[in-house]
């Protein structure tokens, strides 16, 4: 029978939640790296026992961890993230030039085929690659150097590269997203990049339709349709069907289209999930009701999913890396909250149950479906 392993990064450590395919009884392991901020953990699709984790601290900086046994034991690997050449400047909040400074790793993305190859999205926004299991990291400098890098400005949470999507049909193609620069694509394995933000409209920047400057919160892809991406922007939910060359809004009947997460059903590329958040000033659900919204039509038409979720007095947030899906026959959906809950649905969102309820604020959730 298949098993599921949920990797949870929190403000005060990492947790590994495991269950059989029924997804009713869960074992909780952790906290791993207790007291450290665990921004993200993710397993290698090529070797599920290989897991990478970003461990950070305002005091002690960045540490990278690697597990070769599914998260039971860990070893620290390389933590030197040096920008290529002279780093230059990006824009600061007030529009003045600000030197590029490495702060932390927001997201790790293991290669689809090689357990020793892994990408890291970092703040200040840049992408790094390791081909030796995380011991050494090299910047894919063409991203920052593609032409608009000096105009990128941080969002309220920092200038972070938070999303990395690998195209399973084309190893040379990757998509990334940066707050608050936007989405970018490479078609040559990360050497050169282009901004892919046409169709985004952001009222809060000087030119609402600028090439860059959009606060993209998250993008998601179904592996069978790598040219179709879904985006949760600061405001607006969008989709593209031409690999980002053109986007269109699909917020439709959402009660608010602000939010952070977006993800796609494992078996139906037109079924999409978001968690609407009231506004950019009030980072909690509307009316204290935690609702996941599901579209079975690739956007536009959305239905609220509430069974098992708190429908009063709920004022948590769901951060951008805190939703994931498993690939079991009945697709499981998972998300974590800043209130320390990790909710799971084993029926594609119809019903929800908290796996854990009292963890530290959840930064990230990833799921591994194991044989």
């Amino acid at each position: 029978m298949s098993r599921v392993r949920v990797l949870v990064g929190t403000k005060k450590g990492a947790f590994v939640l495991t269950s059989d395919g029924a997804r009713k009884n869960w074992e909780v392991s952790g906290p791993h790296f207790a007291g450290w901020e665990m921004y993200h953990l993710k397993g290698s699709p090529a070797d599920p026992n290989r897991i990478y984790a970003s461990q950070t601290s305002g005091w002690f900086g960045q540490v990278m961890q690697r597990s070769n046994d599914g998260g039971t034991t860990w070893e620290a690997v390389g933590n030197k993230f040096a920008y290529e050449g002279t780093p230059g400047t990006h824009q600061w909040y007030d529009g003045t030039p600000h030197p590029w400074e490495f702060k932390r790793v927001w997201h790790v993305e293991p290669s689809l085929t090689d357990p020793d190859t892994v990408y890291a999205g970092v703040e200040d926004a840049a992408m790094f690659k390791s081909t030796d299991g995380g011991q050494n990291w090299q910047e894919l400098a063409g991203l920052r150097g593609h032409g608009t890098g000096s105009s990128w400005a941080p969002g309220a949470g920092g200038l972070g590269l938070h999303t990395i999507l690998l195209d399973p049909s084309n190893p040379q193609r990757m998509f990334i997203a940066i707050s608050a620069a936007g989405a970018f694509r490479t078609d040559d394995g990360g050497v050169s990049w282009k901004a892919i933000n046409r169709g985004l409209r952001s009222q809060y920047i000087p030119d609402p339709e600028a090439e860059v400057g959009h606060c993209v919160h998250r993008i998601a892809m179904h592996p069978s349709r790598p040219n179709t991406l879904f985006m949760q922007k600061h405001w607006d939910v969008l989709r593209t069907d031409d690999a980002g060359d053109n986007w269109r809004e699909v917020s439709g009947n959402l009660p608010t289209d602000f939010g952070f997460v977006v993800d796609v059903h494992a078996h139906d590329p037109e079924t999409v999930y978001v968690v609407p958040i009231k506004s950019d000033s009030e980072h909690f659900p509307l009316e204290g009701q935690l609702r996941v919204f599901r579209s079975r039509t690739g956007g536009e038409e959305w239905e609220p999913l509430t069974a098992g979720l708190p429908q009063r007095d709920c004022y948590v947030n769901v951060l951008r890396d805190a939703m994931a899906v498993d690939t079991l026959e009945k697709c499981g959906i998972y998300f974590g909250t800043t209130g320390g809950q990790v909710y799971a649905s084993s029926d594609a969102g119809d019903n929800w149950t908290p796996i854990v309820s009292t963890l530290p604020p959840v930064y990230s959730v990833e799921v591994q479906t194991l044989p």
Binding site: G35, W36, W59, F60, V63, N79, A82
Partner: protein, 110 residues
Amino acid sequence: MAHVVQAGGGPRVVRVELPFHLRTLARVQGEVAVEVTGLVTLGAVLDALERLYPVLQGTIRDHDTLKRRAFLRFFACQDDVSLESADYVLPDAVAAGAEPLMVVGALAGG
């Protein structure tokens, strides 16, 4: 604190007290002891510490500039030596192993 220039001789064993999270990271308990050849300077002790525990590289000082991380302080014989240069010669009591060099995390955060 005034100190005298240390006399020559062989390697010295210097005690270093690390904050909880760095002890956990280095997988040590209590103080650690590092061997320093030549003058027992702040930089020489940190170099020796990072050689013995490579996992600490980048967690106390920047990898390249070797600049102290902002929320860490160094104390020797109850004196704050955080702002001293890497060439700062630590007090004889530290060089002799009678007192530890203390690496302390700032009291801040939630």
